[in-house]
């Protein structure tokens, strides 16, 4: 493939740059790297990348400023590289429009999978799970948006209004990480509080139960503790 996806890597640690660059180039992507906010802005304008991998701790400015700057003009996928334990930071950057995040330290398979998934989600190319004719399909799961019905392996699953709304919302954004507050705002039109988070989790538990999913085995909805949920973006 000579028309490679261009990825802008914004990171100031040279060892991590080497690593990520090697990994992504091995997988057929073209990588441009920037070490600071200023450099990233320049390279972004001249190369017009297809995806940005962004480390939040930049030497000159906070990485979220770059995210805000990109979101002002573009909807291209942005993946945050963040340290573990900073759930609040992850949530903040997701709510600011980042598509996903990868926790440092990360494994090679994880990095490549996230990049691929974000690209698919944004450019709809070769996307296995798809919405066509108002129907969402992912493995055995099928959602008919017009009649508000959910099927699992051809069998209809009876969901409550709220449960259906949550599932439909996740499926419409499949592949993208949705934070608790984003889901709560969309479903209940209210602010994210402890109580509404609890409500969401209880509904989620019921959805899993109705879909017959045991803990640890969910292949449709991925649960990121302390952050939110993501509908799987690819068939496996």
């Amino acid at each position: 493939m000579n028309n490679k996806y261009k990825i802008l890597l914004v990171e100031d640690e040279s060892h991590i740059v080497n690593l990520v660059k090697a990994l992504l180039e091995l997988n057929g992507y073209k990588v441009i790297s920037a070490r600071s906010y200023v450099e990233a802005i320049t390279l972004y304008a001249s190369y017009i990348p297809d995806l940005v991998l962004l480390d939040l701790g930049l030497p000159d400015r906070d990485g979220t400023e770059l995210l805000a700057e990109i979101r002002k003009q573009d909807s291209i996928p942005v993946i945050i590289l963040s340290a573990r334990g900073d759930e609040a930071e992850k949530v903040r950057s997701l709510d600011m429009g980042a598509n996903d995040y990868i926790t440092k330290p990360f494994g090679s398979a994880e990095l490549v999978a996230r990049v691929r998934s974000a690209l698919r989600h944004s450019y709809q190319i070769g996307r296995a799970s798809s919405v066509s004719d108002g129907v969402f399909r992912l493995d055995g799961l099928m959602i008919k948006y017009d009649s508000r019905q959910v099927f699992l392996d051809e069998k209809e699953i009876k969901l409550t209004q709220t449960e259906y709304n949550i599932l439909a919302l996740l499926s419409e954004h499949s592949g993208k990480m949705l934070t608790y507050s984003a889901i709560i705002k969309a479903i209940w039109r209210e602010c994210c509080s402890d109580n509404s988070k609890k409500k969401l989790q209880v509904n989620m538990a019921n959805i899993r139960k109705k879909l017959g999913i045991n803990p640890g085995e969910s292949k449709y909805i991925i649960n990121e503790l302390g952050v939110g949920y993501r509908m799987n973006g690819e068939n496996r």
């Binding site: 573990r84 334990g85 759930e87 330290p105 409550t160 709220t162 402890d194 109580n195 988070k197 609890k198 409500k199 989790q201 209880v202 989620m204 538990a205 019921n206 899993r208 045991n214 803990p215 640890g216 085995e217 969910s218 649960n223 990121e224 503790l225 302390g226």
Partner: protein, 361 residues
């Protein structure tokens, strides 16, 4: 922040309660002295005693001095001639007032000094614990770093002389030991996150559905140890527990990992959660080699000597991992314990308080 304020209000209320009840008791006792025993001359002494008591058991100067003033007025008004009116001219009354106030100030000063000393002692103990931990950690860090540094150097310098099998072997060692380092650093981060500089524990609890945590635990465990069978038994109904989910997940993973790494001869590991009254009890059991009785006592202290315990002396990190577990659980107001039988296996058990109020829509 709100919690801090609440604790402060509680403290003030408690002090006021101590002050009022002592005064009322003293007033009643003074009545007895005057009316029944007819020894009214000792009333002043009685109130001096009350001022002393209040100064000892309350914080700061305010309550002691307040008690002295009220006590002095009471004695003056009710128990000294002329009865039931204030008389500030009699020299003995003024003397009593001065003695009471001076006593209260002096006692309060002593009490405050004592409390400062106690705090300094607690801080020093904390410092010792911290230093021990630091020593254990530095020691534990050196081993994987030696492997990582040595293996990569060997490969960099002798790249052409090593065959593929040797290279793979070295790379695998680097991978495994750095994976271990990652886990170690996560544990250290958790400790620093919840223990502030004074050694008190700070966490932010949010209500979390148990299933979410278990789901995440299982997924991570399976990814790390695909070959190990993990039995799960959790309640069917929805259980909500106020907690920091990331930290509790780490506790469970640490204990599970401990079982995998240290319990030699283990064939299965089981995670059981059940509700008992207002508590959710977590039990993680293995059928491995067990831990020696003498070592269980300080298993949660994070001392480096734990590395030699049980039947397994090969691996490190158990100490620090369990210390993190106990810190996290106590920060949640729960309790963690460990039972073990030689050659039968080990059970780690901890509980957290649940949130009874579950609404469904």
């Amino acid at each position: 922040m709100r919690k801090f304020k609440k604790a402060n209000i509680n403290k003030i209320l408690k002090s006021i309660l101590i002050m009022l009840s002592s005064l009322i008791l003293a007033f009643a006792a003074a009545h007895l002295l005057v009316d029944v025993f007819n020894i009214g001359g000792q009333v002043t002494a009685l109130f001096i005693f009350v001022v002393f008591i209040v100064s000892v058991f309350t914080e700061g100067y305010v309550y002691g001095i307040l008690t002295a003033v009220i006590g002095m007025l009471l004695v003056n008004y009710a128990f000294t001639f002329p009865y039931f009116e204030f008389n500030f001219s009699a020299s003995e009354n003024i003397m009593a007032a001065l003695v009471m106030t001076a006593l209260s100030v002096m006692t309060s000063t002593l009490t405050i000094r004592l409390k400062v000393l106690q705090r300094i002692k607690a801080e020093a103990d904390m410092e010792i614990l911290r230093a021990n931990l630091l020593r254990a950690v530095s020691h534990d860090l050196r081993t994987p770093l030696t492997t990582i540094y040595g293996s990569s150097c060997a490969m960099f310098e002798n790249y052409d002389n090593l065959n593929d099998g040797q290279k793979l072997e070295l790379i695998k060692d680097i991978m495994e030991d750095s994976d271990w380092l990652i886990r170690m650093v996560e544990n250290l981060l958790s400790i620093t996150k919840i223990e502030d500089s004074k050694g008190s524990l700070n966490i932010i609890k949010t209500p979390v559905v148990l299933e979410e945590v278990i789901d995440s635990v299982i997924k991570k465990f399976k990814k790390r140890y695909p070959g190990i069978k993990l039995d799960i038994d959790i309640p069917q109904e929805v259980v909500v527990i106020p907690m920091d989910a990331i930290l509790i997940e780490q506790v469970i993973l640490n204990i599970l990992e401990n079982a995998v790494k240290h319990a030699h001869g283990m064939t299965r590991v089981k995670l059981l959660v059940y509700v008992n009254g207002d508590k959710a009890v977590f039990e993680i059991s293995d059928d491995g080699c067990g831990i020696e009785k003498e070592k269980i006592g300080d298993i949660f202290l994070g001392q480096s000597n734990f590395e030699n315990s049980g039947c397994d002396s090969s691996r490190r990190n158990a100490g620090i991992g369990l210390r993190v577990c106990s810190t996290i659980i106590s920060a949640h107001g729960g309790k963690i314990s460990c039972e073990s039988k030689r050659d039968r296996g080990t059970v780690f058990k901890f509980f957290l308080y649940i949130d009874g109020d579950v609404d469904f829509e």
